[in-house]
């Protein structure tokens, strides 16, 4: 995580907050380390009274709806709709999801490490909104102690009427999927479960469950304080607000930054010190994201609408820069093998299909005898065939690689590769015993 700790930015105080100022979520003026409760309250002011009667609750729900806030965990589902669905049920529970099992992403870890109270504010608020006094926050093990300390600080000052339980998340890729998070808290098994029923109907302990990404909750805490209009002061009208991004690969200073949604990709790369070498392609969104030609993507706004022309989306806010002298097929093959190994192993097409697909992509990358026609048939057979989107996400990544690295494919088929760089660009954890 050290590599991501060089966040610098203007403006420490949000108290006199012009809407156009960044960062909103991450502290800018503090020394490294988590913001204490005092620092947090000094910066943002107190959370509106957590005991909400019906009228206030509806007003706040309306404000969230008006803000246009969407889930920041990758699926971009409208937060107000999710809140309303759970609020309509009896005796629900709130789960703040900071599992962040994706090895290349660091934004949730950085947010939790620097602004733990903003996330806890959001969890407490979500609990009040859906009508419960129970919130579970699931976090990566590297920030567990920070959250324990923050939760203890709030208990000491009797800040909340909501009981906060901190749980260490499973260090697995699929462990962050909403039903897998619930399964993990309940039984210590980090695998997705079959739906229906939806989690909003029957989740943790059989209760209606709101699973919300930690960054989404942090935004919620700010919307409750400053309102929808303030939130919409940055971002685009269709995709308002800011988001955290993880920028890595061939950039001078890999980091986590907060950007207004719609900031041109080129400017986002500049926040990380710009490309360190000439770039070939960008991986946008995450390991379930899409490759895009670097030159084609650079001028585009980093938003769902902006990236649509290159077939990509914002996902969980990842931008990985691939140097011109690296092999995109080899990078893809390595990530796909990792994703295939990370299959929960519950659904046949994911377990057997992704394994076969990963082997075929590896053959393509190594220039061994392989069949593109077979690979494409398998991609079609795996797509959409799991209980969660693990197979679909992996298929999307591969399909984009076959398009973006098409020229490379032809060379590999003839037995050569123009990459001169040895060593991996995208991080993949070492293969454990299976």
């Amino acid at each position: 995580m050290r590599a991501y700790e060089n966040i610098a930015g203007p403006s420490p105080s949000v108290a006199d907050r012009p809407a156009g100022q960044l960062p909103r979520l991450l502290p800018a003026g503090f020394a490294a380390g988590p913001a204490s409760l005092a620092e947090h309250l000094g910066r943002y002011g107190p959370l509106p009274p957590p005991r909400l009667d019906r009228a206030h609750r509806d007003a706040l729900l309306g404000e969230v709806e008006g803000s246009g806030l969407t889930g920041r965990g990758g699926a971009a589902f409208p937060t107000a709709r999710k809140l309303a669905a759970v609020a309509a049920q009896a005796a629900p529970v709130v789960v703040a999801n900071g599992t962040e099992g994706e090895p290349a992403s660091a934004k949730d870890k950085v947010l939790l490490a620097r602004s733990p109270h903003l996330v806890l504010d959001g969890a407490v608020l979500a609990a009040a909104l859906v009508g419960t006094r129970e919130a579970v926050i699931v976090v990566h093990h590297s920030v567990r102690e920070i959250l324990d300390e923050a939760a203890a600080e709030r208990r000491r000052t009797r800040l909340d009427r909501v009981r906060i339980r901190v749980v260490t998340g499973a260090d697995r890729f699929v462990g962050g999927e909403a039903s897998a998070v619930v399964h993990w808290i309940e039984r210590g098994v980090p695998t997705p479960t079959a739906r229906p029923p939806r989690l909003s109907e029957r989740g943790l302990g059989g209760k209606p469950t709101l699973v919300q990404n930690v960054e989404t909750l942090a935004h919620l805490a700010l919307i409750a304080r400053y309102g929808a209009a303030w939130f919409r002061g940055l971002g685009t009208s269709a995709e308002p607000g800011t988001m955290l991004v993880t920028i890595l690969g061939a950039v001078n200073e890999p980091c986590v930054h907060e950007i207004a949604i719609g900031t041109p990709v080129r400017d986002v790369l500049r926040l990380a010190g710009g490309p360190s070498v000439p770039l070939q392609a960008l991986l946008l969104g995450g390991y379930f994201g899409r490759w895009a030609d670097a030159a084609a993507a650079a001028p585009l706004p980093f938003s769902a609408a902006g990236l649509a022309p290159v077939g990509a989306g914002i996902g969980a806010g990842l931008i990985a820069a691939l140097p011109a002298d690296a092999c995109g097929l080899a990078e893809t093959a390595r990530v796909v093998r990792y994703l295939a190994d990370e299959s929960a192993g519950q659904c046949g097409p994911c377990l057997f299909g992704l394994d076969a697909v990963a082997e075929e992509v590896q053959r393509l990358a190594e220039g061994r005898t392989s069949s593109l026609a077979t690979l494409r048939r398998w991609l079609g057979q795996v797509d959409g065939r799991g209980a969660c989107s693990h197979p679909d996400g992996t298929v999307g990544l591969i399909r984009s690689a076959l398009t973006v690295f098409a020229a490379e494919l032809e060379q590999h088929a003839e037995g050569w590769c123009c990459a001169t760089r040895a060593g991996a660009v995208l991080p993949v954890p070492p293969r454990g015993p299976r």
């Binding site: 479960t193 079959a194 519950q346 659904c347 046949g348 097409p349 076969a356 057979q381 065939r385 209980a387």
Partner: protein, 73 residues
């Protein structure tokens, strides 16, 4: 394609035994690893066969339901 009923496989429960594809080859094919792929909704004349496929699945992984108004994920 519209039909009067919809078959759904629970992919976690399904073990790829393949009985469903034998009973209802009109609507169920197997992928390269032996797991069922459903081809569209069940038209009226095939509903009885679909019920039989659901009944015979040793993993209770096949479900027959109404066609929902909206596609849900």
């Amino acid at each position: 394609m519209t039909g009067s009923a919809r078959l759904r496989v629970d992919p976690i429960a399904c073990d790829g035994r393949g009985l469903c594809a034998e009973i209802l080859p009109e609507l169920i094919t197997l992928d390269d690893w032996g797991f069922p792929v459903i081809q569209g909704d069940v038209p009226g004349p095939l509903v009885q066969c679909a019920r039989e496929a659901v009944r015979i699945c040793p993993k209770l992984a096949l479900h027959l339901g109404k066609v929902p108004l909206q596609k849900r994920r």
